[in-house]
Symmetry: C2
Subunit: 120 residues, 2 copies
Amino acid sequence: MQRPDPDAADLLPLPTTTFHILMALADDDRHGYAIIQDVAERTGGEVTLSAGTLYRSIQRLLEQGLLEELTQRPAPELDDERRRYYRITAYGRSVAKAEAARLASLLRLARASGFLTGRA
Amino acid sequence: MQRPDPDAADLLPLPTTTFHILMALADDDRHGYAIIQDVAERTGGEVTLSAGTLYRSIQRLLEQGLLEELTQRPAPELDDERRRYYRITAYGRSVAKAEAARLASLLRLARASGFLTGRA
DNA sequence: TGAGACTATATGCACAGCGCACACATCGTC
DNA sequence: GACGATGTGTGCGCTGTGCATATAGTCTCA
């Protein structure tokens, strides 16, 4: 990388969409469309990223160094040449952790304010 | 109210700033500037709302019915006539609870993704 | 065979929300 | 009376968003 990554805290709060994208890539490399499906699946259909939002978010995350695009292609019989695959970087992971910590703090405040009804 | 309040879920996700404003008003009615100070205090200085963001957010929240402005003034010896006091509405409270529930779900996903280091 | 749905990426457009800077007035204190 | 803190507000530009649209290959089913 040309410039050093800025402090993870400078990017917070992360747009919800961005955080979902990072979670989708936490365990596996995926291409854009697969990210949309993964997010929808793990949120039980509650969060459905629109295509416009997704692809522009990815562009931004690449520029900021949270994601990198893979040059390696899967085996030809599994591949679809239209796809572009992405992987979360170490920096991206640290930003995601910072955001998770921020959310945890926020939730503690919400609980103190009586906004959290159930246990949680 | 002229129109019925839309489903609380339609407003989610709430901007972080909005959620902080609602938390500041959860227990006490406050005027704008006091909200800025309260948010800064309860976040240990981590979140400092800019004036521009705050007053425009309040305008929006009034229009959406999450807040109402108080007509009653405090006792004259405690008052500052420049101030405008706000109170969270029942609808605002229900929206805040919906947002808190969303954050709790998000945090569960973050934990499953390994982004939550500590216990939390 | 052809219509329609799904997969896949990308851009144009309009709008919401944000920070920064600025404006303006009052209040408290020295 | 000067100065900083209090208090509310607007102008401007930037980022991030959804919706619509473009393009194109694949798959299914009548």
